[in-house]
């Protein structure tokens, strides 16, 4: 008897809950034969279009590599880059791009609940693979951001090495930060602070428009400022390009050291002939040994310094941010009244649950900053090491890491191609 009573009460409560919570009014009983319409929705972009993007990327990379390695045609490179601005920029509005895809891949490696589309993996891997074979032909103009900067660079000036080298370290820091924030699921900063996408969409915040405009105006004089001093994907392409099987050359035949191409490179990526004196070798060897001993110190010190930043960095993650707000509310026993706080209280999730989630994320940040900092220390140490290694070089050659295969140096070489 007791059980039936409880059952009745619970059924009554269930009905009351349903009617009171979501659906206060009953389904209308139409007499005029009126039929309730379906909600009008428009289907998403067909999947085949996404695959077409990958095919277009593959073809563009192949054509670009052919123009760079085989044809040595600046004109061909130029028109391919115009095509990719139109297709990937104007038509596709820039998403998803290879530069941003490193974040999706990182997120898929670290967060088990994120399922990554195959097309995004293709956008990540194809340019790297092509670069391993042909050098940075992706940068030459398949990347629409590189292509845009290549277009505006009409009055190129050279940047002195003392400025070029430190600025070239920024992409490494940017990469580490972007990967850390992507791995923790905090944010995709590469996408958020993309300076060019606003121009294609004709929509961005005022700050981002200014940032984009500054990069483009700088780009008139400084060749590809974003590619060289910001692009985090460029770091990976740089590594791949150093090891590439084939790479573009300045001369179609043999270098005659005429110096005509000396200032032709818009990104300062031409290695000039180096003569080695015996005393520089002796000096370099001593410095090399000292720096080699100091390398672990750099790594640990940099890792330690970066790990000090884990708390402020972790507040970029929305869960940690919310947890701090709720903690503040608890400590001061009043409400902040923000939308976030209201939304959290309406979910009915326990604050302790939120705090434990936030704590786990902060832990992740702690180890992440250690690893990221150590990597930056290693990079810093190796960069210093490299300054004390001198290699004899006789010819004018493109620097395989920094050369973006834009082909602007081809016309400066007076040597005819070998038949």
């Amino acid at each position: 008897m007791q059980i039936v009573k409880y059952l009745l009460i619970s059924i009554f409560l269930l009905i009351f809950f349903q009617t009171s919570n979501a659906q206060r009014f009953p389904e209308p009983d139409f007499e005029s034969g009126y039929e309730v319409p379906e909600t009008q929705t428009i289907a998403p972009r067909a999947l085949s279009w996404e695959y077409l993007d990958v095919v277009v990327l593959f073809i563009a990379l192949s054509v670009m590599s052919w123009f760079v390695i085989k044809k040595r045609s600046r004109k061909g490179i130029f028109w391919t880059s115009i095509f990719s601005i139109i297709y990937f920029g104007v038509i596709r509005l820039g998403c998803v791009c290879s530069v941003g895809s490193i974040q999706n891949v990182t997120l898929s490696l670290f967060q088990s609940n994120y399922i990554i589309p195959i097309t995004v993996i293709a956008f990540f891997a194809l340019p790297l693979l092509f670069t391993l074979f042909f050098g940075r032909t992706f940068c030459a103009g398949v990347c629409f951001m590189g292509a845009v900067q290549d277009l505006v660079n009409i009055k190129p000036i050279s940047i002195p090495t003392w400025l070029n080298k430190p600025l070239s370290a920024i992409p490494y820091i940017y990469l580490v930060l972007a990967l850390l924030l992507a791995a923790t699921g905090a944010d995709f900063i590469i996408c958020r602070y993309d300076p060019f996408i606003g121009f294609f969409r004709m929509n961005a915040t005022f700050g981002m428009f200014v940032f984009g405009a500054v990069i483009l105006i700088l780009g008139i004089f400084i060749g590809r400022p974003y590619c060289r001093f910001l692009c985090p994907y460029g770091v990976l392409l740089n590594w791949m390009s150093r090891l590439s099987f084939w790479h573009t050359t300045i001369t179609p035949s043999v270098c005659i050291q005429c110096k005509l191409c000396d200032t032709s490179c818009p990104v300062d990526a031409i290695n000039k002939p180096v003569q080695i004196k015996p005393e520089t070798i002796e000096k370099g060897r001593n410095r090399l040994i000292t720096l080699f001993v100091l390398l672990p110190v750099f790594i640990v010190a940099s890792g330690f310094l970066a790990s000090r930043l884990y708390k402020p960095l972790s507040t970029i993650h929305p869960t940690v941010h919310l947890a701090e707000e709720i903690k503040w509310e608890q400590d001061n026993s009043k409400k902040t009244g923000s939308e976030d706080s209201k939304a959290f209280h309406s979910t009915g999730i326990q604050a302790s649950q939120l705090f434990s989630d936030a704590g786990r994320i902060q832990h992740f940040f702690y180890y992440g900053t250690w690893i990221g900092g150590a990597f930056l220390g290693l990079f810093f140490g190796i960069s210093l090491l490299k300054t004390s290694i001198v290699r004899r070089q006789e010819d004018y050659e493109p620097d395989k890491g920094n050369c973006v295969s834009c082909g602007k140096c081809y016309k400066y070489c007076p040597v005819p191609p070998t038949p």
Binding site: A43, P44, C191
Partner: protein, 198 residues
């Protein structure tokens, strides 16, 4: 390099010299290729052939109004969608009229919608049909709030796939206080409310 050393470093099958630098380079190339392959392979193991699209989880949405202002598009891709199958077809609609309105008519002063995107048409006494004109709707969610507070909650905000540029990182998801912006497989289409609980 002594003769003995040179002999050792000759590849038996090609007879070419393999000096230290070439050896290092081949090793590094292999390492680069393998690491690229393993990262790609691992993410492929967690991938799907489908595409991801952004949607609003209507059960989480708190109608803060940020959808209208934070989308990268000038007119937000977030629109109010009406699940007719859940609607009570009321005369006094909490999503259509301002609270404590005098006349239940189509006079503009009585409307909750700031852009007059919510249209009402007579069906039969006492039922009225409500439709959203998506070209006018800016996704502010005022009607959604009204409908949820007084009615069945049949009006709710959703991201229109036709308009959404499918940014890699949805700008609204970053500011959404309720974490309601989620990525779902494109084949699932729309996260719409289902209808009457029966």
């Amino acid at each position: 390099m002594s003769n003995e050393k040179i002999e050792k470093s000759i590849l038996p099958e090609t007879g070419k010299h393999l000096n230290r630098r070439d050896f290092l380079k081949t090793g590094l190339r292999a390492a680069a290729f393998l690491s690229l392959a393993s990262i790609t392979g691992y993410s492929l193991s967690k991938s799907m052939s489908d595409d991801l699209v952004w949607q609003i989880d209507p059960t989480k949405c708190v109608q803060c109004g940020k959808c209208a202002t934070n989308c990268v598009l000038n007119m937000s891709a977030v629109k109010c969608m009406h699940v007719h199958k859940m609607c009570g077809y009321c005369d006094l609609c909490g999503g259509y009229f301002k609270p404590q309105v005098k006349n239940l008519d189509t006079g503009a002063e009585n409307h909750l919608c700031p852009t007059k995107a919510l249209k009402r048409s007579f069906v039969e006494a006492p039922y009225y049909k409500y439709d959203v004109d998506e070209s006018l709707c800016n996704g502010c969610g005022k009607c959604v709030e009204g409908c949820g507070a007084f009615g069945n909650g049949s009006l709710h905000l959703q991201i229109n796939h036709d308009l959404c540029t499918n940014c890699n990182q949805c700008a609204i998801s970053k500011v959404c206080p309720a974490d309601a912006i989620v990525q779902i497989p494109a084949s699932k289409g729309y996260m719409l409310k289902s209808g009457f609980n029966t």
